[in-house]
Amino acid sequence: VPRAPRTGVGQADRLLPGRGDPDRGPVALIEEAKIKDQLRGWILDRTTSGATELEDDTPILDSGLLSSLDVVELIVFIESLKGEEVDVDAIEPESLENLDVLYRAFFVEG
């Protein structure tokens, strides 16, 4: 079972792949955008906050978009996208900070 990394937000910003990374090819960037859009769609569909837009760096938990009970379902959704299980014991709430961090934690390093 893959383990999601234990990272803080500051560390995540430093490690985040994608923008400004000359080694990232166009296919990887398209894949990243596709996955983020699916996550974005799921979160906006699920939230009861009334939000209709979600930027890559919008806080997901701090802004009240999702509750801890929603997070359980988000993790199952992430598993369905990855096609494999996620080790919840290894997840820190910081891994769910925003779309950028989520993508990196579960789809790049996880």
């Binding site: 379902e73 993790i75 080790d87 919840v88």
Partner: protein, 291 residues
């Protein structure tokens, strides 16, 4: 009015402690664990299996359905075990603080029994499916109004116990099931019957004490959370890892279908009926949540 209706948590605790001493059992010697469960035996009745009534269920052959029943019961035992972990932790916090002596004495029995249950469930799961299924719940920090954390703690305890007891009662006397499955369910039900009586009493008293002190917003927030928590607890019964282990072709699609299927919803409503009636009677809910 019958005595039980006017009994306080304190006098109830004394009575339950006596029963716990009388009915004590040793988890390490109580069971005659078979080497393996015969694959031709059911481990959960078909109508209790989470996919029953879906196309994924229809697509399984008889052997596949029996294999699914083994993983389903292991998931049920696993999620009960995981539900009992924070319960044990929370019960420790309740002891020797605000509670009186008879209640604290019963909490020792409660803890002791919950620990035995966790050992028993882990023994079953590790022996017959090679693991305890992990749960997806993630504890996030939350700000509570005064007393809200206690009330939600007792609600969580009751949800895990009452839903579990529905299955325990159904399975404990079902002759179609493997004998070891029936035994584990019976043992759990014997202790849980006391825990539920106690949990109901403590929750009703705690809620009646704190709710009048809450703002309308807090009270409505707690009521909305109860519905969310119940739905979330039910979602745990639909575990894609279980479906994968039983050879279901698309576990995530199967879960999605089951959560939306009318027969599955009817099952959840039937299994939750007693619990929801209690929440309504105690004033914790004002209407039944959709499941």
């Amino acid at each position: 009015m019958p005595e039980a209706a006017t009994e306080t948590a304190s006098t109830l605790a004394t009575r339950l402690s006596t029963a716990s001493v009388k009915k004590a059992w040793d988890v390490y010697s109580a069971f005659d664990w078979p080497e393996k469960i015969d694959p031709s035996e059911w481990c959960m009745a078909p109508e209790l299996i989470s996919l029953h009534g879906t196309s994924a269920w229809d697509a399984l052959d008889e052997a596949g359905r029996r294999l699914l029943s083994l993983h389903e019961v292991a998931n049920f035992f696993s999620l009960t075990l995981h539900g009992e972990r924070p319960l044990v932790q929370g019960l420790c916090n309740q002891m020797y603080s605000r509670q009186n002596t008879p209640v604290t004495e019963y909490l020792h029995h409660f803890l002791d029994e919950e620990n035995r249950h966790m050992v028993m469930f882990a023994m079953f799961c590790n022996r017959y499916v090679g693991k305890v299924y992990p749960m997806k719940k993630l504890a996030l920090p939350k700000k509570y109004a005064k007393g809200e954390e206690d009330v939600t703690f007792f609600i969580k305890a009751l949800v895990i116990e009452e839903l579990g007891d529905f299955y325990n009662v159904e399975m404990g006397h079902d002759d179609r099931l493997a004998p070891i499955v029936r035994e584990v369910n019976k043992f759990h039900h014997r202790d849980e019957a006391r825990h539920i009586v106690f949990g109901r009493k403590l929750l009703a008293e705690t809620f009646a004490h704190w709710a009048p002190q809450w703002s309308e917003e807090t009270l409505e927030g707690v009521r909305a959370w109860v519905g969310d928590y119940l739905r979330s607890s039910w979602n745990d019964f639909y575990n894609p890892a279980v479906y994968r282990d039983a050879g279901v072709s698309d576990p995530y699609a199967a879960r999605k279908e089951a959560l939306a299927a009318a027969p599955c919803r009817a099952h959840r409503e039937r299994a939750s009926a007693k619990l929801i009636d209690y929440f309504l009677d105690a004033g914790i809910l004002t209407e039944a949540p959709s499941l």
